[in-house]
Symmetry: D2
Subunit: 370 residues, 4 copies
């Protein structure tokens, strides 16, 4: 007889681990399959900005609200995870400064001005608190709530805590096939077949095959991002610097994390010479003194993108036992807590906001077509 | 329309790459799919002994003959690959010393004495040429032909040379499904579907799922091996030291490679504290001075084992278009050249020795049952 | 004309950097010379236990009092350094459990029982809060105040903050000679000669040459310690496990740090195979499940030892301009804050407790002879 | 009584090790002191071009002749060192292509045309054998003799072989002071004082202090060079590409080594972001496809420069017992063999060409003043 679980999860990144944590904590018997090592792919490559504002385009839409809700969940999580796992997720204070170099960029930023979380800072004041910043900026929008965490630490903490609550995590265990039998779902893996009542697919950019095999249309493709870190030899950055999808984040270790390129449809996870050059050029433009700082490391990761840049979170339209949580693009770290809660609530039968489910439903047209 | 190739290969370790190389050189249009990075799994973890005698049990059987044939292919390959790829595969001279600590071990070794390649060396003579060796040995069997190469270099050289001959190698591209359509085989991957006339499955211990999906019985399971390397601060070892599945190999960089544990059915590829302890204990028993040497690195790999410890090399019994080359256990580096030639010859229609095909045929009872 | 400073410091480990920080904050013009890279030698190799009780032998002596005083300074420092440098020194809670395997060890521990900071925990209670612990312990002494920090983070924070207060730190700058001229001290380095009113030698085990050159008798020799870290796959350790100079420390990253061997008079800083084996054996004895955990890293460092195991902190008996702060043995991380304060106070003319100066004076007989 | 040696050497880079090797092989009792680890500083950072022509300015002068003589010594050394140490120094074939982008550069190159080792290759022919080369070159000078080796391997081989011949090598042992006593030289180190009949200072850019302490005028300063390596995904480079102090070298591992920046008077050995950017820009200009290749590593090293860019090789003018071999700038790997021979011959009393000794004599005006 095959071993049976309440819920199986495919994918051991921050999304899958948040789901495992929330379900195990709610008393479910959980198994998670990770094809390589937990948290070593997209999760580790991320800078960890909780950029509810920084990444958003429209500031009143559902996506923004979900981002803000997830951001605020981190406050309690930080305490809980420290207690449950012994791991510190290293939340920073300080927030993000979105920089404007042109009048156009300034106006775009100032469209956020009605938000209580947004504050416009003129060039002079920016230079006072951030003397490292480039001379030629016009000013910056400061969003204090958009702090950051260390993504791998969050994932590791979810993992440890989930295991403490009874979850089983199988690393180096690729899933080969999902069989939809009547009485249960059967998950065939390299170490045998397991059955479960519910299944969540959460393997980021590698989730595409399961959509296909399970009969669904979808869009899901990688956008490779290359990063570099340095040891900050000047004063610590009070705020993350952000401009045009690039950022410089101050870690509480004394390092700066700089990223990232945007290369659609590249699957290779080693940075190229040209990618690193582009990151350095962009960073020097934002903070000239960074060129003198000693290099620490280079790396790259694959953001899982959909056509509308929003994730799929919800049930398979034709098989209620199967759920998806994938395609978080640049927002996986931000959205991990709320994604874990939504999937948990769907499975244990607690209510979830209808407009959220609608916004992230599988098979929506906006995601499928450009 | 889907892109079509003469031959598709699944798996970018040394076996898959040897096949790609031999087929591309023979003029075939070849594509190879590697789920992660080329040569970074089992191939990189191997010490690279060409242990035709060292690993064998019976010394007149087919397996021994195939091993010897493959060993001798390396002589020409070394030259060809240097020329074609610019890469040196770092063949050593010197061979292997199989050590005996007991009379029983001595007698077992001396069963090879009728072989012209085997020479019994008494304890006194061993100490003269190998003063590092443990005091309490009874003697050793020297097999000069069992030299070694650097496995990752061989794989990288096959790769580069195969590409020079026109092969396409797709890294970070897992194969999701193989569809056996009438006109061609269709290989569904994360980057699209490709068609081919012939397919070879060569993904080591991860090949099991394809046997299953393609309707075949098989045995295939990992035997994890943990290794450590040190900088040799004494005189270079003239010969590899070998005893009871453990070895100390002298690299021409000045390092010693020491391995390896034997842990069946473990899929994790990070060494454990206990595994490293076991390797150190075994190595110190063979060569006491190694305890004083500075550590370089620790790692682990997964040997792909079958029940009779021999690989599957040959055609699918019911679908001639599908071939397998997997399950090489401790002999993947040794057998890579001959495996490449056999698969090439099967595909291009050149004759292959019948007893070889028989010995390694898919579905043989010896492999299936213990 | 040569550049002049109020104070020069030789050595950029945690001791030298604490001195630089305290003096720069007090308004002194400070320069620090580090022969290689800041904090990359003994400081980085340390586990960071603030073991005021754990390392002590006598529990009412001056050394114990100084240790406790320094330990309590970390509470304020943690906050100040976070603010001044942006770096988190990662203080743990939890303290140390000193384990007894024999009646003798138990009695030795219980000599601390009159201390309010010490609590004896019997074997049953230990197993409840620390189920990872070996079965055969008799019990353990819990000292909650003996928490730990991350040594490199502390050193980096002192560095950054010292620079913010105006200190100059010159890496890769060995000091060649100290000339005692009448009007000032002249420090000859690879990048030129600098003058100063006061000089502090704080280069750990490499300080010996300056004692000699400056005409002083002293003892100072390395005790090499080899360490290993693993990823803790079980529940987080609530307390550091400590026994017979060995320890297992839980980092808030999820790693365990295990150390360390004791090899007097070894100067090499790469761990040997035998050293790593010894650490693994000791760790498995304290916590058997650690053998199954995946290895993270191996390293080694040199503790600077004197004959009485206590540091030299104070003035040169014949030249008031020269001070020493070296020889902290296993207590460098613990004593860094108080050492910084003592040296600062001596230089700026604030009073320092006489018995402290007496205990750590240069040239004391206890340090010189065994 | 202090331990006595025939010869002491300060510095365990490729120069010091070549001297140790040549002297030990000639029967001398040799001790070598290395302040950190053998071969891990300037030696490891070098690309290893034997650029007798590539680096030279005048092609008939003594410097050129010495370079050519040293280059040819590598042919025998390769074989000897393999035999003596078991280490392969990885000599390449192929030589260097010095590229011209302008008429002026072409004319400068063609001044070598009378040399039998030089061949001018026009743009069309370059593209045939080196299709990776930039489109806009005018042609290139091919110098087949300027092959390359792996510097760390050479140094390690000298080390091992020297030890086989009886030399003692003390790592992690800084020399504090050299005392010129009547009967012998006394070398004070961190591990005690040793005496010797002859001393050679060979500690590269860190030799300056010994010139000073031994009463000599000299120039010696670092020129920092930053490098990067990539995995060559195209065909292997047949020849090293060289232009304006920058180069792309093909290793026989399949990697390309690219370097290097030129930053005088920088002592820090970690590459900066700006330095890496400059290397990438230069490399892309020579070989555009390199931008697509995956990065392997970044590093930096310190070339030891004198004002006339030539080394000091010879005796102290006032104390015949002291010799220097330092300041090899960009030519340390090339000149290591001949430097070892010259110093050996001076010490054992074999004749050395007078014009060579004259060209590299200590205290020559050309070296002292710009």
């Amino acid at each position: 007889m095959k071993k049976h679980y309440d819920v199986a999860i495919i994918g051991g990144g921050i999304i899958g681990m948040s789901i495992a944590y929330h379900l195990a904590k709610a008393g479910k018997q959980v198994v998670l399959f990770e094809a390589s090592e937990v948290g070593k792919q997209t999760t580790s490559a991320a800078a960890g900005m909780l950029g509810a504002h920084a990444e958003g385009e429209g500031y009143e839409d559902t996506f923004f609200q979900v981002g803000r809700a997830s951001q605020s969940l981190y406050e309690k999580l930080k305490v809980d995870l420290r207690h449950e796992s012994g791991i510190d997720i290293r939340t920073s204070a300080g927030g993000i400064m979105k920089v404007a170099f042109t009048e156009e960029e300034k106006q775009a930023l100032c469209r956020m001005q009605h938000l209580s979380t947004f504050e416009w800072i003129d060039a002079g004041s920016v230079k006072k608190c951030m003397p490292q910043m480039a001379e030629n900026i016009l000013g910056a929008g400061l969003i204090k709530e958009d702090v950051h965490v260390e993504p791998y630490a969050v994932c590791r903490a979810f993992w440890k805590a989930a295991v403490m609550y009874g979850a089983e995590v199988k690393e180096c265990t690729p899933v080969i096939e999902v069989k939809r039998e009547k009485e249960a779902l059967a998950i065939r893996t390299t170490v045998g077949t397991f059955t479960c009542d519910d299944l969540t697919v959460a393997s980021g950019v590698w989730s595409g095959r399961f959509f296909e095999e399970l009969g669904l249309s979808h869009s899901l493709y990688p956008v490779k991002g290359e990063c570099v870190s340095v040891w900050n030899q000047g004063p610590a950055l009070e705020h993350t610097i952000y401009h045009d999808h690039c950022y410089i984040v101050q870690r509480d270790s004394g390092k700066l994390v700089v990223g990232a390129t945007m290369k659609p449809n590249e699957w290779q996870t080693v940075p190229t010479l040209g990618g690193i050059e582009a990151v350095i050029q962009k960073a020097s433009q934002l903070m000239p003194s960074i060129k003198e700082m000693p290099i620490d490391q280079c790396w790259a990761g694959l953001r899982p993108a959909t056509n509308d840049r929003h994730p799929y979170i919800g049930r398979h339209p034709e098989d209620q036992r199967i759920l998806f949580a994938a395609g978080h693009y640049r927002n996986g770290i931000l959205l991990a807590p709320i994604t874990g809660e939504i999937i948990r609530d769907l499975i244990i039968g607690k209510p979830v906001k209808k407009e959220w489910l609608h916004a992230f439903r599988i098979g929506r047209k906006e995601a499928l077509f450009v």
